[in-house]
């Protein structure tokens, strides 16, 4: 009789940290938390339950939160409450909002576990010394960065949220809810604390975060500080934008190449989420971003995939940010119009609304990605990239931050414009044209589908009220303003029920 059974093909937590060779695979899993949905690619053995595995992928849900709720994106499908996002009628039972929330806290819990198991004391008792110890400290700092990134997503989307750290034990307890400002301060403190342990900018392995990623996140936090804490921190934003810019990233010469299967070669990307057609696969992430945008008369082969999912398109209000929508001048006008109607009469019809041909699973040389089934792209997601920093710098200066100057702001802005016009300065603007509205519009053009739009619209006060409406905002074709409480998402009802310490956001 076998009395003491141990799991085959698994390791116990007690043994896994005794061998340093296991540390990197555990760290890799923390990064992979953004890209994949479970421990078996493309599906099977999911991280979280209660929703389709591919649907609930972190990046896919982050896209849904940041893009489907805005002028940039509308979806045709009939899945659950997905239409409530663009219609801005979501409630606390929306499974997509819940999936985002659950992914964020899954990611935080996974990071907590690694940080808990790699304290100085644990490393010492597990016999990790020498270069391994140095490496382990880098790993731990990166885990703290990833946790800070998810906490940023948490406060950006949900406001005041539950707070759990490595000091909590794994179990089922009731975490306390901390205010948005308290967690803002926690993230800020964490990011500053790990600076010393992070690898220098552009010195780490591709895919891993470095000091520049930390600075970028700090800059994003400060730029939105008014929204999160009620106090503007534009000067700090400029400080950290400068640190990122000083690290030596360069704009990718051709805009389109930033979103292709070989974009890992780009010198512009500060922090990517990596995907690979064979090795990092799933039905969220880049698979979603490429497939869902293809439909109608679009040829899937042009996108390096086996077929489109006929899902997301854009509104005419977004299209109107461009004076030339052909893409002949501003290369960022990546509209596909053949067979597509500019007006969206039917939210469920893919052919209503211009399609977007931005993310593709083909290389800059036109070669399809590595997956011969045509399912899973090689294309990485540029989560942080230099053009964003340039525009953030300009905005922070315009908003009155010190430590930068208007001339540099204009220069950075025009660097982005010149690249958009493929090296031509025809689209450049002058100092008088550099307004906050110009910056918001430019961010829209530059960062379409890159999951900044909701945060940007909120920061500019355009997300909920009637000052800016787009097709089907508020659930009506012409668009209308909605309640201001929708600037934060509701805490999912499941967590309110499971955790009596939580209070719902006002309005829900």
């Amino acid at each position: 009789c076998k009395k003491d059974l141990t799991p085959n093909y698994d390791q116990t937590t007690a043994s896994v940290y005794k061998d340093f060779a296991n540390y990197k695979p555990v760290l890799a899993r923390l990064y992979a938390g953004f890209a994949i949905s479970g421990q078996q690619g493309p599906a099977g053995n999911p991280d979280i339950a209660g929703i389709d595995e591919g649907f609930s992928n972190y990046i896919r849900e982050y896209y849904n939160m940041q893009e489907l709720t805005t002028d940039e994106s509308i979806i045709a499908w009939n899945d659950g409450t997905v239409h409530d996002l663009h219609d801005m009628v979501w409630n606390s039972q929306n499974e997509f909002i819940k999936a985002m929330y659950d992914r964020i806290y899954y990611q935080i819990a996974a990071c907590n576990e690694f940080i808990r198991q790699t304290t100085d004391g644990q490393l010492s008792s597990n016999g990790i010394t020498g270069d391994n110890l140095t490496q382990a400290k880098h790993f731990r700092a990166e885990a703290r960065f990833l946790r800070a990134l998810s906490y940023w997503h948490a406060i950006d989307l949900f406001g005041s949220v539950p707070f759990v750290t490595e000091n909590d034990v794994v179990g089922t307890f009731f975490p306390a809810q901390k205010s948005r400002a308290e967690i803002f301060a926690y993230i800020e403190g964490e990011l500053k604390a790990i600076d010393g342990d992070m690898v220098d900018a552009r010195a780490n392995e591709y895919g891993r975060a470095d000091k520049a990623a930390v600075y970028m996140l700090l800059a994003k936090l400060y730029l939105n500080a008014q929204v999160y804490t009620g106090t503007q921190r534009n000067t700090d934003a400029i400080t950290y934008c400068n640190k990122v810019i000083a690290a030596g990233y360069t704009l990718e010469p051709h805009y389109r190449n930033l979103f292709l299967a070989d974009n890992n070669n780009s010198k512009e990307i500060i922090f990517p989420i990596t995907f690979d057609g064979l090795h990092t696969t799933g039905y969220g992430g880049m698979t979603y971003l490429v497939h869902a945008a293809v439909g109608g008369t679009m040829n899937p082969v042009d996108f390096g995939i086996n077929g489109g999912w006929a899902g997301v398109r854009t509104t005419k209000q977004y299209v109107s940010l461009f004076t030339d929508i052909t893409g002949n001048t501003d290369k960022r006008a990546v509209f596909y119009t053949d067979g597509q109607n500019l007006e969206i009469k039917d939210e469920y019809a893919f052919t209503d609304g211009y399609a977007i041909a931005k993310f593709k699973n083909v290389t800059s040389a036109g070669k399809a990605g590595s997956d011969n089934t045509g399912n899973f792209p090689d294309t990485d997601l540029p989560m942080f990239r230099l053009a964003d920093v340039y525009l953030m710098y300009a905005e922070a200066v315009l908003r009155g931050g010190t430590g930068g100057d208007a001339a540099t702001a204009l220069n950075y802005f025009n660097l982005v414009r010149t690249r958009a016009y493929d090296g031509s300065t025809a689209g450049n603007i002058n100092a008088g044209q550099l307004t906050l509205q110009t910056i918001l519009d430019e961010r829209g053009r530059e960062l379409l589908f890159e999951m900044h739009r909701r945060t940007d619209l909120i920061r500019f006060g355009k997300f909920t009220d009637a000052s800016y409406v787009w097709a089907w905002k508020g659930g009506v074709m012409a668009g209308k303003g909605v309640e201001s409480y929708r600037n934060v998402m509701p805490i999912p009802s499941t967590d309110l029920i499971n955790n009596p310490n939580l209070k719902q956001n006002t309005g829900y």
Partner: protein, 966 residues
């Protein structure tokens, strides 16, 4: 000299297995399938012979033997079958001594006709036992629920014990259903243990009842007999899903579609459901040999089944062999029983192709074949690049004919049991039982490169292999003694049992059709395992044959729980009072039996996610672990793809789910047992339910976890009556009827006891992530959670208009709980009439108050179905009534009353008796699934789980059987 003859029952039907022994000798024989026996080698003289059969009175006759003599034996049922012995956990008991709810069904009462899995033998026969076939595919088995099931997320399957081996009911890849690996023809009896006082001896696995299956055995000193049976059948489709015809579809698209849709219409008239179904042939042949060689009784049987499905290409072939040997050593003080069963199956799985769904939604105006050779010649929807449109359904016939999805299954079940009576103290018996249940399944799926289904990756070739291992050892001692002075009988059993399970799944690499080009990266191998072991004891005490007491206890451990929570104690106690024996009823002649039974017991549950055989989370839920990713879930650092390690969620506090059951029952018999039956009431309460529950976010390494959070209770009534209406020499009429009422309510499902906790369940088709059912405190589990449809003046449902139940001004938050998939009442009726050599029988079942969500109509019943980009999809005919533009998946319009009456079986047989010197012949004609009466608008109202989506239709089956005995 020799004695031979035929042993028949009270209505001249043969009694196979009845034995005849000659007092004072070791000679004896057993009746074959036709009731014939023969004892040879008898020295001349006068003997007393004794015929015995379970449930019948012994017949003792005196006979002079001098050469061959004939002795026919007519046996009569023993008074009210009270001396019948039933099999209980770790032993047997006389039926009249039972205190718990135990129902025995023996082979002569089994359902007739083409039956491929064992549980179908007793479908509709036993009150409180609901058996729902999973689909019309051969070998697909059934879902068995005894008194509705006591668990939510943990298994609701009963424990199944075959010849002393609790078998694994876990699915095996390559086999349609684990139970299809057992040949029903080898089964002698089912004993169904329903209440806790009967099941608690099985402790942690007993909450959902126990089915004890005993296979046929040889008789001691019986002559050699052979029996051959062959049943050949034709299965036909009874009904189609009601979708639009080509002309209806053309008209509808032309009237309601845009120009681009009209342009897509074809000119053909194709009934896709006709294309994918066929009339299917099946044959089931069994031969058995039994007898006793020098006092070594044996039975050897070989069976071969070959059954086509009505879905084209679907097929199930099964070869089985079973051997039973039993022998007494040391002057019969040591009895050894050996049972071996081996099965080999070959399956072609058509259902996995998705053809059933495709045939419903494929445009009927398109032809079957395109007229060119592309995509195997089948018509397909194409995209802008001329490749198959990945969003459109594939050609249904192409899906079937271009796919080879084959599996082979092997299963061996065996045990050896030893029973030793202490020579110096005959009150004590020692028992040992060792058994195994090993199965493996292997298979492959192949689709050629030309097929549209896997066009971009150039076809597919994938393999799988799984091996389930289960072994068991039991040791127990039994002490039994009559204390005549104090009119008492005591028997006491105590023992220990250990059972181990493991499930190995091999790593798998997918390929393109060439078998060389890899597709994706291999999965990881997995091998979860667990054990359950426990000590058990049982005391039976009877006083004056009137007052009976049974008490049992089991102390179980399951490796699923941490050391702190591993033990569970499962006690039971039951009392019975045989009122008929009391003086005040002695004179009541019309009353032949009356017994009152009261029992209470506690049983356990530890079997979570029983059909997941690959994930250690369900086998080590308490343990902090890290699991490796496969290569396709790696992450890139630099130029390296790192296979990751994931910290798994765990719950150190996880413990047994416990169910306490109270049972009150009356067993009755009138008119010398010609009317008999029982009435039972039970109340069952399950606490610490093992529920896969959402947990406070951030506290563990996922968003949900198995925890002991909920409670539910079940009340029910089981009633059955058996009537022997006519009983003359030539004419006999029997009627059986049973009815069961059952009500289940969840009382809590939240970690914090919050009554607002809802757990959406019941995934439906028509958009990913949509669910239609709910678990919620105060409601019956799996109730439908829908909007209340508003109807227009003409009675048609108004699209998107629902009742504002909470009068909030919006109907977005107005879903309500409406009806349930489980029947409130279910019943079975069977009757048989025998006139001379003719026997006619039929069985019917009815479910009342069960509702089904017609997912087929909901997900295809809107004009949106032909408004996809680049292709058209056919619609449910319900759209002609509803005229819905968009799908209204959550309308209660689609939750339809699925109460039904089904005639399962009609059977006519003629017994030719002796057709040659030594041969007997019986011929049977049978129709299965004769008719269904229901209001349900979908294909079939009987859908386990209540969500009707692409159901494989149950065919009507015509069969002809012959049974030859030698």
């Amino acid at each position: 000299g020799s004695i031979s003859g035929k042993i028949v029952d009270e209505h001249n039907q043969p009694l196979p297995g009845a034995t005849l022994t000659i007092d004072g000798t070791t000679l004896g024989g057993a009746a074959d399938a036709n009731g014939n026996y023969k004892i040879t080698g008898i020295k001349p003289g006068t003997y007393t012979v004794r015929a015995r059969f379970v449930g019948y009175d012994d017949v003792v006759k005196s006979i002079s033997v001098n050469g061959p003599v004939t002795l026919p034996v007519n046996m009569l049922p023993s008074n009210k079958s009270l001396s019948e012995v039933v099999v209980i956990g770790y032993g047997t008991q006389r039926k009249k001594d039972l205190t718990g709810s135990v129902v025995a069904v023996t082979s002569k009462d089994f359902n007739q006709g083409p039956i491929t899995t064992p549980e179908q033998l007793i479908q509709g026969k036993v009150s409180g036992v609901q058996i729902t076939s999973n689909s019309g595919s051969p070998g697909s088995g059934s879902t068995i629920r005894i008194r509705g099931g006591a668990s939510l997320n943990a298994s609701n399957d009963p424990l199944i014990v075959i010849d002393g081996v609790p078998i694994s009911n876990t699915s095996i890849n390559g086999v349609a259903n684990a139970l299809s690996l057992i040949n029903p023809n080898d089964i002698e009896s089912f004993n169904i243990l329903k209440d806790a006082s009967a099941t608690a001896i099985y402790g942690s696995r007993a909450s959902n009842g126990v089915l004890i299956i005993t296979t046929k055995k040889g008789g001691a000193n019986a002559p050699f007999t052979a029996n051959f049976s062959s049943l050949n059948s034709l299965s036909v489709k009874t009904k189609e899903v009601d979708v639009l015809s080509a002309d209806q579809f053309r008209d509808l698209v032309t009237a309601n579609g845009g120009a681009s849709q009209v342009a897509l219409l074809g000119k053909s008239n194709t009934n896709w459901q006709d294309q994918i179904y066929q009339t299917a042939f099946g044959t089931d042949n069994n031969i058995s040999f039994s007898g006793g060689i020098k006092g070594l009784p044996y039975r050897l049987s070989v069976g071969y089944l070959d059954q086509d499905g009505i879905l084209k290409t679907d097929n199930f072939k099964r070869t089985t062999a079973a051997l039973n040997l039993n022998h007494g050593f040391l002057r019969n003080s040591l009895k050894v029983d050996v049972n071996l069963k081996g099965t080999y199956t070959n399956s072609v799985f058509a259902q996995g192709s998705g053809a059933i769904g495709a045939a419903i939604s494929f445009d009927p105006t398109q032809p079957v074949y395109s007229g060119n050779s592309k995509y195997g010649g089948y018509y397909e929807w194409l995209d802008a690049s001329g490749n198959p449109n990945t969003l459109a359904p594939r050609n249904p016939l192409g899906l079937l004919e271009q796919r080879q999805d084959t599996g082979t299954g092997k299963r061996g079940i065996g045990n050896a049991s030893f029973n030793y009576t202490l020579p110096f103290f005959k009150d004590v018996q020692l028992n040992a039982n060792v058994g195994f249940d090993v199965s493996d399944g292997a298979g492959q799926t192949y689709v050629p490169a030309t097929a549209a289904a896997f066009y971009t990756q150039k076809g597919t070739l994938s393999h799988y292999f799984q091996e389930n291992t289960n072994y068991v050892t039991d040791y127990y001692a039994k002490y039994a003694h009559d204390f005549k002075d104090i009119k008492s009988h005591v028997d006491f059993t105590a023992g220990y049992s250990y059972q181990y399970y493991s499930f190995y799944t091999r790593a798998q690499q997918g390929y393109a059709a060439d078998g060389v080009t890899t597709v994706g990266l291999p999965s990881n191998p997995t091998k979860p395992q667990y054990y359950v072991d426990g000590f058990f004891g049982r005391l039976n005490y009877s006083f004056n044959d009137r007052y009976l007491l049974t008490a049992t206890i089991r102390d179980d451990r399951s490796s699923r729980f941490s050391d702190l929570h591993r033990n569970g104690y499962f006690p039971s106690v039951a009392l019975a009072w045989r009122l008929k024996e009391e003086d005040f009823l002695k004179g009541a002649d019309f009353l032949s039996d009356l017994k009152l039974r009261v029992g209470y017991g506690v049983t356990g549950q530890q079997d979570i996610a029983s059909n997941n055989t690959t994930n250690n989370s369900y086998y080590f839920p308490y343990l902090a672990r890290y699991s490796p990713s496969n290569g396709a879930a790696a992450y890139q650092f630099g130029n390296t793809y790192i296979n990751t390690l994931r910290a798994e969620a765990y719950n150190q506090d996880l413990k047994w789910e416990t169910t306490s059951t109270s049972n009150v029952a009356i067993d009755y018999g009138f008119l010398n047992g010609r009317i008999s039956g029982s009435l039972e009431y039970y109340y069952r309460k399950t606490k610490d339910l093992l529920v896969d529950t959402p947990i406070p976010d951030g506290t563990n390494l996922t968003n949900h976890l198995y925890a002991n959070v909920g409670d539910l209770n079940t009340k029910g009534v089981d009633f059955n009556v058996n009537i022997n209406a006519v009983n003359t020499k030539d004419f006999r009429w029997d009627i059986g009827y049973n009815v069961s009422f059952n009500k289940i309510k969840v009382t809590n499902i939240s970690l914090t006891g919050d009554p607002n906790q809802i757990v959406p369940v019941g995934t439906i088709g028509g958009g990913v992530g949509n669910t239609i059912q709910l678990l919620k405190a105060g409601a019956t589990p799996y109730a439908f959670y829908v909007y209340q449809q508003v109807y227009g003046a003409t009675g048609t449902p108004l699209e998107g208009v629902y009742v504002d139940r909470n009068q909030s001004g919006s109907t977005a938050d107005d879903k309500y709980l409406y009806q349930q998939p489980n029947p409130k009442v279910f019943m079975g009726f069977n009757t048989s009439v025998t006139y001379k050599k003719w026997t006619a029988s039929t069985s019917l079942r009815a479910n009342i108050g069960n509702y089904v969500y017609n997912n087929v109509a909901a997900s295809t019943g809107a004009y949106a179905g032909f408004k996809f980009s680049g292709y058209l999809g056919n619609l449910s005919s319900s759209v002609l009534d509803t005229k819905f533009n968009n799908y209204q998946l959550f309308s209660d319009y689609y939750v339809q009353n699925a109460s039904f009456v089904r005639m399962d079986n009609a059977n006519l047989s003629y017994n030719f008796g002796k057709v040659a010197k030594t041969a007997t012949l019986r011929v049977t004609g049978n129709v299965s699934n004769v008719f269904v009466i229901t209001k349900y608008k979908g294909l079939d109202p009987e859908v386990q789980g209540g969500i009707d989506n692409n159901f494989y239709p149950r065919p009507r089956v015509f069969s002809l059987g012959v049974n030859l005995g030698f």
